[in-house]
Amino acid sequence: MASTTPKSLFLKGLVDSLPFLLVASPFGLLFGVLSAEAGLNVLEALAFSLAVFAGAAQFTALQLLQENTPLLIVLTSALAVNLRMGMYSASLTPYLGAAPMWQRAIAAYLTVDQSYALSIVKFEDEPEMSLPQRMAYFFGTTSVIAPSWMAATVVGAWVGAQIPASWGLDFVLPLAFLAMIGPMLRTPAHMVACFVAIVASLPATLMPHNLGLIVAGLAGMMAGAQTELWLEQAAARSKAKQETAP
């Protein structure tokens, strides 16, 4: 561990992030294609990826825009999908919060699923890392993914413009979401949240302006949080029982 300069940690982060490229690029490509189908030109699609840099939220906004949803609901729903970024930011703060403001601002922009997942594991495993070492690793994890996301969007938007609308590509969007949901279901509480949201979402479509999405989402969140609480209490009870047993 003697030669862990910030530079070598940057490279380490870069290498660790390479497998994620296989996921980020196809989704960037798909976002480009679907935005072209929705009528965006290459520049608009790139501006979208560049300004927002959050796949799931971008797909959400694109879908809702096409359904003529009021802008306030488009923004609320897309940002709700992005709320987890706030959690990532909160959980990285103990490790990166003392860095200079400009570095924190750049780190905030670059906080995505991949950079968070890689960095938090690294920081927890190696508590002796210094602040510059941590920042270097964090920036390394996004150094290839961020430009690839943008490049894939441009290629996708360019390709998508050549694809006729009759191909019915809009159905690929729900498929892309479904592909993301499966791996997210790690606990029984996740499954309850997902199930309740699914069940609630169908009658909720009767509500005007796509408001039902937010209602069904909130129902799922409350169900998930409540399940987590119950499971914790049940676990605590059975533990207490074991400890008092002779």
């Binding site: 009528g39 930011s89 909160a90 609308a165 791996p183 279901l185 909130l218 998930g224």
Partner: protein, 109 residues
Amino acid sequence: MSTFDQTSLWIVIIGMAVGSFALRFAFIGFMGGRQMPDWLMRHLRYTAVAILPALVTPLVVWPSPTGGETSLPHLAVAALTFAVGYLTRNVLWALLSGVSGFLLLFLLG
């Protein structure tokens, strides 16, 4: 296909850029080491896993390529995509199965 205007698009892009950055910056920039209340964190943990299914379900049950008519092949491809994602825990495999299924629908339909 395009039913929204340029102004709406740019309002959404700029609104999301500001909003997403604010979400990401709020804690690392201002919160320091302060803790969020437990009940809030507990709900936030389930946002993505609730909002995304709520968005997807109507799109799958009433798919746009059929004009909103419920269709067994579309449901099957959706179920396959979800199942592969859940079983392999791998987004890429799930997406690949979904796209293959879609191509099949396209070629058969």
